[in-house]
């Protein structure tokens, strides 16, 4: 190949990087510049009025918080237990390899298929109906592989000598895990959990048929009822509403609130990771 002008070479790579940053810049600039004027205390503390054209998004915020909590309650204990089993107990047998292969495949399954699975299992077979519980459990299944992978990574960073010291002073294996291994892996586990939940909070496809609703008068808070959620609300406002242009400002406000929630969770995770690194 003929030698290119070095400045041109540099420019190609800079152009790639610049375009990627440009995408991020457009996303942030557009959502913030058009969403910010809509944000007010009333917007986040009142329900929608006048057929969604006025009022706020409180029920959607409430629904997303509740949904994320249910997701966490289901996926965090199971995910951590499974990671503990894989990293602390399991030997390299065909069964262990099958479990690991399942986890890898599950993390590649499209989210809409989790939605179908939630519909078939929780909504129809188990009779929970379209409800916040069905949707939360569906998102819990979706989150499970991520929580297992990140927790296992955190456990792997704990040196074997730590476990041996606990066993050496007479602890059983369970006691060494409960009192020594898990507490020292906690920051890493928390980082993974928070990142996974931020993903779950922004997911839309799995809740489409498992319980999200366009409008619920007042957040009921019951587990067996349908709910409003921020991502679903944004989807409906931007594609399904009769007066799309009229509700556009509210859609921008919803998008910005969703983005703030997700980025806040991400920053929390980075903070935990950063603080832990300094302690080491």
């Amino acid at each position: 190949m003929k030698k290119l002008n070095p400045i041109f070479e540099w420019f190609i790579l800079l152009f790639c990087t610049g375009t990627v940053c440009f995408f991020l810049g457009v996303i942030l600039y557009d959502l913030v510049s058009k969403g910010w004027p809509v944000l007010s205390w009333a917007f986040v503390s009142k329900g929608p009025t006048a057929g969604m054209t006025q009022g706020g998004i409180l029920p959607a915020i409430f629904g997303t918080v509740m949904l994320t909590l249910i997701t966490a309650v289901f996926s965090v204990p199971f995910g951590i237990c499974c990671a503990v089993y894989l990293n602390e107990y399991a030997k390299d047998t065909w069964l262990t390899r099958l479990i690991r292969a399942s986890i890898r495949n599950l993390s590649g399954v499209p989210s809409i298929i989790y939605g179908l699975f939630g519909l078939a299992l929780f909504v129809q077979s188990m009779g929970m109906g379209t409800s916040v519980l069905s949707a939360g459990l569906t998102l819990g299944l979706l989150s499970l592989p991520y929580i297992i992978t990140t927790t296992e990574e955190a456990l792997r960073r704990i040196p074997a000598s730590t476990r041996e010291a606990a066993l050496g002073v007479g602890a059983t294996q369970f006691e060494s895990i409960r009192d020594v291994v898990l507490p020292s892996a906690l920051p890493g586990i928390l980082t993974g959990v928070v990142l996974t939940l931020s993903r779950a909070a922004g997911e839309t496809a799995p809740i489409l048929f498992t319980g999200a609703a366009f409008f619920i008068a007042g957040g009921s808070g019951y587990l067996n009822q349908e709910f409003m959620a921020l991502p679903y609300h944004l989807y409906m406002l931007s594609t399904q509403h009769q007066a799309i242009e009229q509700v556009r400002p509210i859609a921008y406000g919803t998008a910005l609130v969703l983005l703030i929630v997700v980025f806040f969770l991400n920053l929390t995770a980075f903070y935990i990771r950063y603080k832990h690194r300094n302690n080491e």
């Binding site: 190949m1 030698k3 070479e9 540099w10 790579l13 152009f15 790639c16 990087t17 990627v20 995408f23 991020l24 457009v26 996303i27 557009d30 959502l31 237990c81 499974c82 503990v84 107990y89 399991a90 069964l95 262990t96 479990i99 399942s102 986890i103 599950l106 590649g108 399954v109 499209p110 989210s111 809409i112 298929i113 939605g115 179908l116 699975f117 519909l119 299992l121 299944l141 297992i148 059983t172 369970f174 006691e175 909070a201 922004g202 997911e203 839309t204 496809a205 489409l208 048929f209 991502p231 944004l234 989807y235 931007s238 594609t239 556009r248 998008a255 983005l259 980025f263 991400n266 980075f270």
Partner: protein, 296 residues
């Protein structure tokens, strides 16, 4: 506590931990059985040949037809478009971060890419409606810009963080001795990158692209919002398309329980499942090759 009680406790918890391992297998198995069961219920009524080769998807017409080819081609077009945009940009960015950027710049770029990865898909779909759509409409003179190109651009944005992160790892893992040998025989930085570093990192880069393809095929909300969703046979990037994922999302909410149409949606979900599984397996194969290379 008595030693006996502590040992029992230990044994009980070992069982509990192991049971959660089975839960994971059960979830994957459950998804698989659900897809298989409902697909079989569908293929009892409609022949698999008609399903795969049919060029018309019209389940609610008087004579319902369940040809999935238009959906498959739509998914293919949008994914192909996304990769044409995302692969060069992703590899270029990964090479820049790994080989050219100074540590200070790296510390800004890496969090920026993590931030891009964190943006929810529904928000990107929304921007497809309010920014990319009108932009395409203005350039092409169409009434709205909701078409395959719009979906491809958005999917490229969604796949980029995955591609960049994995490709950057791969390029970074190429041993320094390779580069030094190349510099030693008088090659420039660019020549080293093009002829030595990127070829050496190729398995990792292919894995990165495969993971990106997997994300693009399975993504629902962005394509649902930005591609216009016309169920006709797709004619190109400037026409509206309807992917497998958006068809499921649109029709599942309205279809009556356990009708042929209901089973048909599970059948196309099975195709989607197989597609993503195949792409991820290929990706995994290259990741393993890349690991072997690293170990050598």
């Amino acid at each position: 506590m008595q030693i006996r009680a502590r040992e029992n406790f230990d044994r009980t918890f070992r069982m509990i931990f192991r049971a959660t391992g089975f839960l994971v297998i059960a979830v994957l198995g459950g998804i698989f059985i659900m897809l298989l069961y409902n697909s079989i219920a569908f293929f009892v009524k409609v022949s698999p040949w008609d399903f795969i080769t049919g060029t018309q998807w019209n389940p609610s017409g008087r004579a319902a037809s369940y040809g999935m080819l238009p959906l498959l081609v739509s998914t293919g077009i949008v994914t192909l478009g996304a990769m044409i945009i995302a692969v060069p940009l992703g590899i270029g960015t990964a090479a820049f971060i790994s080989e050219y950027a100074k540590p200070g710049l790296k510390n800004i770029l890496k969090p920026a890419i993590e931030m891009l990865a964190a943006v929810p898909s529904v928000a990107i779909g929304f921007l497809g409606i309010v920014i990319v759509g009108p932009g395409i409409a203005k350039i092409t003179g169409q009434s709205n810009g909701l078409n395959a190109l719009n979906g491809a651009i958005l999917l490229a944005v969604m796949a980029l963080p995955t591609i960049i992160t994995v490709a950057e790892d791969a390029i970074h893992a190429v041993p320094r001795t390779y580069r030094e040998a190349s510099y030693g025989v008088g090659a420039s930085r660019w020549q080293t990158l093009i002829h030595i570093t990127i070829p050496a990192a190729a398995p990792g880069i292919i894995a990165a692209v495969m993971l990106g393809v997997g994300r693009a095929i399975g993504e629902t909300m962005t394509v649902l919002m930005a591609t216009g969703n016309v169920a006709a046979f797709p004619r190109g990037f400037f026409h509206s398309v309807r992917t497998i994922t958006s068809t499921i999302a649109i029709e599942m909410g309205e279809v009556p329980y356990q009708t042929t149409h209901y089973f048909a949606l599970f059948a196309i979900a099975t195709v989607l499942f197989i597609l993503t599984l195949a792409v991820n397996l290929i990706g995994e194969y290259f990741v393993n090759r890349f690991r072997k290379f690293q170990a050598a």
